[in-house]
């Protein structure tokens, strides 16, 4: 195992800068505050979940249920604010509680019963989506101004409070991973669980907590999404888990565990979101967008791997 170094960031930064330069050269309105704002305000949910997913993947686990849990937490926000007449604070609390509970369930079942988290969270993907449809009766809930504050760009700034919250989440996640004992335990458990156990580390608890933390962050992410759209859509987040995992993997986190960086996952999210914005602005068709996005994901991982070997 090698400690993550700040210099590893430059490859991803270069990929991102390259994309920005490329789109700037071909898209007349691309290099503008409006583009920056639309990218920044679109990614809070992805940033928060990618932060949690990085911690889970560092321990060697994975969570395929984030998209469905995002949908369910959004449904909870909708029901809390529309049907129960609650405020934003109550909705946030309920969303975090549900997200944490499902995340903890993922962690407990996979770790304590020694089942692969891939399988357990695949089951949760179905359960949470079904619950999202049940709680909303399959109907989109329109919430309106009461929830929109977090997603509305701040006066004088192009970014929303939700983006600032997500940035704080990324910073805290990186801090926990690289500066705290618990963070080092996550890496140790993921790199070699047996060695970690011999060294006297409780190998179960960090993994369970990582799953629970991801659930909690997904709860916050759901509120960010609802506030941007002013509504709760029970279909929200279908396929979202793949975007999250793609961003984390582009950021160099190993699927086998033992290595990962939240800051680099942040750059992974930025690369994927910038690509999406640029391709729409250039007028690329849906199939072309998919082909290019897939290609860039593989290229970014390759660039990072080569840099690591060099």
């Amino acid at each position: 195992m090698r400690a993550p170094r700040g210099s590893d960031l430059w490859v991803l930064l270069a990929v991102w800068a390259g994309l920005v330069a490329l789109f700037g050269a071909f898209g007349p309105g691309f290099l503008s505050a409006a583009t920056f704002g639309s990218v920044a305000n679109r990614i809070p949910a992805l940033l928060l979940t990618a932060t949690g997913m990085t911690l889970v993947m560092v321990t060697g686990g994975i969570d395929l249920s984030v998209g469905s849990v995002l949908g369910l937490c959004g449904a909870v926000v909708g029901v809390t604010m529309v049907d129960a007449g609650g405020g934003l604070a109550a909705a946030l609390a309920a969303s975090i509680a549900v997200g944490t509970a499902l995340g903890a369930a993922n962690g407990l079942v996979s770790v304590k019963l020694r089942l692969p988290s891939f399988i357990v969270t695949l089951g949760m993907l179905e359960i949470a989506r079904g619950l999202a449809f049940l709680t909303t009766h399959s109907q989109t809930k329109y919430i309106g101004a009461a929830v929109e504050g977090l997603g509305t760009p701040l006066a004088g700034l192009v970014v929303s409070p939700a983006f600032l919250i997500a940035l704080a989440g990324v910073a805290a996640g990186q801090g926990v991973l690289s500066l705290t004992v618990w963070g080092r335990h996550l890496v140790a458990v993921g790199a070699n669980a047996e060695a970690a156990a011999i060294a006297g580390i409780d190998v179960d608890r960090p993994r369970i907590w990582a799953h629970a933390l991801l659930g909690a962050l997904t709860g916050v992410a759901a509120v960010c999404n609802c506030s941007r759209l002013g509504s709760a859509d029970p279909n929200a987040g279908v396929g979202f888990e793949l975007s999250v995992i793609a961003a984390v993997v582009v950021g160099g986190t190993s699927l086998a565990g033992g290595r990962g960086s939240v800051a680099k996952s942040f750059l992974g999210v930025l690369i994927v979101a910038t690509l999406e914005a640029g391709l729409v602005q250039l007028g690329a068709s849906e199939p072309v967008k998919r082909v290019v996005t897939g290609g860039v994901i593989v290229a970014a991982v390759l660039a990072d791997t080569w840099r690591r070997r060099a």
Binding site: G27, P28, G29, F30, S32, A34, T35, G37, S38, N41, R42, R129, F133, H137, S138, Q139, T140, K141, Y142, G144, E148, G151, T152, P153, S160, N225, R228, L229, G230, S231, D233, P234, N235, A236, G237, V238, E276, A277, V280, Q281, L282, G283, S285, E286, P287
Partner: protein
């Protein structure tokens, strides 16, 4: 021990698969069984459709038995084919189906028809060439999506000036109804003299459409309207318009008239949408099927209403 349990479980399972009692010949029962085969029941639109059908059956309980079947997600063709076969096995006299694909369902439906089951096609029209080639004849009951979208587009155009720039956010590009709505929007914009500067897919999703709309507004600062192929995407687009500080300056249109769009219609953030009367769609299909069973000859196609809603 564990193996024993497994063997016992298998035996129980196999026991469950023993030949079922001979099924009655289709249509011979006192009350004919009508199977309603839908797309995803998790979708508001189809949930409403199923509800309308159940209410109709409750009011006409003496006339027929209803079997409502739905697939998990809208693209799961294999599961829908399976549902058709199950409906036949359960002795359905008629199948009323909203096909998930215009072509892929044709062979399964033809097999059902050959066994004497009456087929009525609702919502999404089966491909005419594929049906003819297979020898399948099914009455179609459903809305004209293209004409509906054209009229929504014209209602929106009334708020614009000829030559204004507009963009279309379409659904999943392979869906026939999505293609029809896009074509209808294009018809309206052409006849009203608007300039369509971009067509992008929002894949029927609120969040996807929100991202697409935000970038379209940046790339085309002169944009005056966003035409969305369903209401979820219209809600996402309206949020992007608000985030760009352009509420009122950029008009938004949708399709489907779901409940969540009403507040946006009320304050003008969404200018127009279309109501396809989902609750009646399945009912008309069932009535068509019952008429065919009663009269013994196939009933014709039936167009259902699409109303433009602007407030």
């Amino acid at each position: 021990m564990r193996r024993l349990v497994l063997v016992a479980a298998l035996a129980a399972l196999l026991g469950g698969c023993q030949p079922s009692p001979p099924k009655p010949a289709p249509g011979s029962a006192a009350r004919p069984k009508v199977a309603l085969v839908m797309k995803s029941l998790a979708n508001d639109f189809f949930a409403t459709m199923a509800k309308g059908a159940r209410e109709h059956q409750a009011a006409h309980a003496a006339d027929y038995e209803l079997l409502v079947l739905g697939i998990k997600n809208e693209t799961d063709l294999a599961e829908q084919v399976n549902l058709v076969e199950q409906a036949v096995a359960q002795g359905a006299a008629a199948i009323v189906i909203a096909p998930a694909d215009s072509k892929a369902l044709v062979p399964a439906l033809r097999r059902a028809q050959q066994q004497g089951v009456v087929i009525v096609n609702i919502d999404n029209r089966l491909d005419a060439d594929a049906a003819r080639a297979a020898g399948l004849s099914a009455a179609f009951v459903g809305p004209d999506n293209r004409d509906g979208a054209r009229r929504v587009g014209l209602a929106l155009a009334a708020r614009l000036h000829p030559g204004d720039e507009v963009a279309i956010i379409e659904g999943v590009t392979t869906a026939f109804n999505g293609q029809q709505r896009r074509a209808g929007f294009e018809d309206a914009m052409q006849s009203a003299g608007m300039k369509v500067v971009a067509v992008q897919s929002g894949e029927w999703e609120m969040d996807k459409a929100n991202g697409v709309a935000a970038n379209l507004l940046t790339a085309h600062p002169g944009l005056k309207a966003l035409l969305c192929a369903n209401d979820n995407m219209a809600i996402g687009a309206a949020a992007a318009v608000a985030a760009a500080g352009k509420t009122g300056a950029v008009q938004v249109a949708g399709f489907d008239a779901i409940a969540a769009i009403r507040p946006l219609l009320a304050d003008g953030r969404v200018a127009a949408t279309a109501d396809q009367h989902a609750d009646q769609l399945a009912v008309f299909g069932i009535e068509q099927a019952l008429a065919t069973l009663r009269d013994g000859h196939p009933a014709g196609d039936r167009a259902t209403a699409v109303d433009v809603v602007t407030r």
